[in-house]
Amino acid sequence: MAKVEQVSGNGKGKRIWIPLGIGCGGILAILILLGGIFLWAGWQGYQEAPTLIEGSVPGGSSGVGYSLTPDQAGIQAELGAPEAFTLLFYEEETMDGSLRDVRLESWDYYSRGVGYTFINGELSGEDELDISEIGQLAPMPYDPEQFGAYMSLDEVLAAAGLATYLEIPLEKEFLKNGDLYYGESLTFGLVDGELRYLEALALIEEGVTDE
């Protein structure tokens, strides 16, 4: 009789431990899941955040640059390299339904008060820049020939020799897979990893003082 009671006592103990184990396991699983979500969300946030990258060593080659057209070479021979320039790269549809690359380019000469727009190297407009006195411009470290359509990030970095730059991933509601970058005297944008916009910015040097 006593033996029977002992057996039934052991069975009761097992019945308590099984749900307890399941409960603890469930709580542990929930905690692991929450931790995973926490880390995953943070990783997303980390990836999406605007970031300053310092000491980057561009590994790629500078890729295929660009050759000036006769229109551009003529202006460069007369006025020198542009003091600032903007490049837009995109595609347009042709009559036969195929796609053709477009390089929309703007060259600015602030000190001469004139700007030029080229489409695929062909002069499409000349604009007067209404500037009275702009001051001493810092030397422009870039040249339009350095940058070609749809370059990769590494190619742009190598072409511009940028080690420090700012990377701003863009909301997909603004531009899907778009990223904007800022470097010294330079800003550029990539879509799907391809160079679509680049602007070399002229700087006015007002002086350097040592503290």
């Binding site: 880390l39 969300a41 943070g42 990783w43 946030g45 980390y46 999406e48 955040a49 605007p50 970031t51 300053l52 990258i53 310092e54 980057s56 790269f89 995109y90 595609e91 347009e92 549809e93 009559m95 796609l99 477009v102 929309l104 703007s106 700007g115 727009t117 489409i119 499409s124 407009g125 604009d127 820049l129 209404d130 702009i134 810092a138 420090t164 700012l166 701003i168 863009l170 909301e171 509601e173 603004f174 531009l175 904007l180 800022y182 470097g183 010294e184 005297s185 800003t187 944008g189 879509v191 679509r196 916009y197 910015l201 700087l203 006015i204 040097e205 007002e206 350097v208 003082t209 040592d210």
Partner: protein
Amino acid sequence: MSNTVKAWMLLLVFCFSLVPFGMGQAEGPGRTFGEARALLYLSDALLEGEANLDTAAHVPGLMAPAPVVRQAEGAEEVLGRMIHATKQERNDHDANCRQLKRRYQSAGDQTAVQKLESYCKAERQRLTNRISFLRRLRGGDRRKVLTRFWHSVKRGSANLWRRIGPLGRNILRKVGDEAFNTVVSGGSLSGEVVRRLAKQAVKSTAREKLKQMTYRGVERLLQGQINIARAAGVLGDEEGDEGDDPQFLEGDADQFDDDVLSEGEDPESSDSQDEEEEDCPGDLSWVAPYWEEVVQPQLIAEGRACQRTAIAMYKSCLQDQGVQGVCQEEALIACEHLYRAIPRTETGGPVTKKVTVMHSEAQNVAGSLVYNASGGGVSGNISYILQDRHLCTIRITSTLSGTLDVETCTLSGTAQVTEVYEGTACASVCSGGSCPVTRSATVPWQATLEDGKILGGVNGNNSSVSGFGFGTP
């Protein structure tokens, strides 16, 4: 049986036909002009804050170390800039459409007008939709509790990743500020560089140039589309007859302008109808918490928390914007030039300030205080001489030590003051020919630090030495 198999096979084939194979290669260009243009405008908008500065920006030698950051704030700033950029883009788009329409109309090219109208309306709708999407994204963060909770989780975890993430990657908060610094300095110059962006020095000209560039892009794009449409016979030339009628053109132009521009909207203004819909009338509730949680720590981290005048101007600007019904992100953008104007001259290590004694008869004054703009210990020395017709000379030297509280911008501590009385007629001290006499005591001192200037005093009450006032010259 065979019928059943056949039916299933047909169903399978039908289902396969529904799968959107090749969707990525839709008709039309994949790399659109609109994408490149959006990047151009956003880039401009992120640098735009500096344009309002009358003075040149002072950039500390190497880029200042990234402050303690909370990534969400940087992302929110970028979101506000995206909305602003899209509005600018839409304004220029409208202006370009009007200009092109006038040109096509004066040429009597009704086919081109027709194509232009359809392009301009579609493009405007796309840009308006983009603004709405971005606003919803921003609004969601402001209004929904769950979204806010999710963002705070994301932020906390992102900070963890920031700590353990790869070296050389600093997440930013003041994105526009950092973008400007990167562009003008590139992180490679030494000394204090004073540079400006040329396009911001000639802001209106640069804006006009931007508009001209996009105008030429749109013109080219449309010409291609018009040619294709003509070749395909989609657009007939029969409307050309109507195009010759000046009355038709005039009326049509009005109608088009009404279509393109929303009701009551000023085409040149960046404020649009949908902006009015989402105004934050008189909402100042965000200013105080934002100030405490974001601005104050940032100012302290950047060593400019004690620039009271400039800080007051920035705060006042934020409050004014709030009263005018401007939403937080846009208020931050509107006032950003004032934030940037807060001097940042005391970063990068200990600051040494020369101080003088506030006593009209003090001679041979020498004094300096050394502190760290981000707070902590303060040390310094002040010495001077007082002479009474050369019959009594008192040499005062004091060694100050204490702390700087950056939250209250006060310096305080104790000073070891020594007074040496020399001469023959130092009343009440050297009477009876007992000079020289030396007196020494440890007394408290306190000073305020405002706009880079120190003003304070050593308290000589209840001690054997005299107190004195001091401050930056």
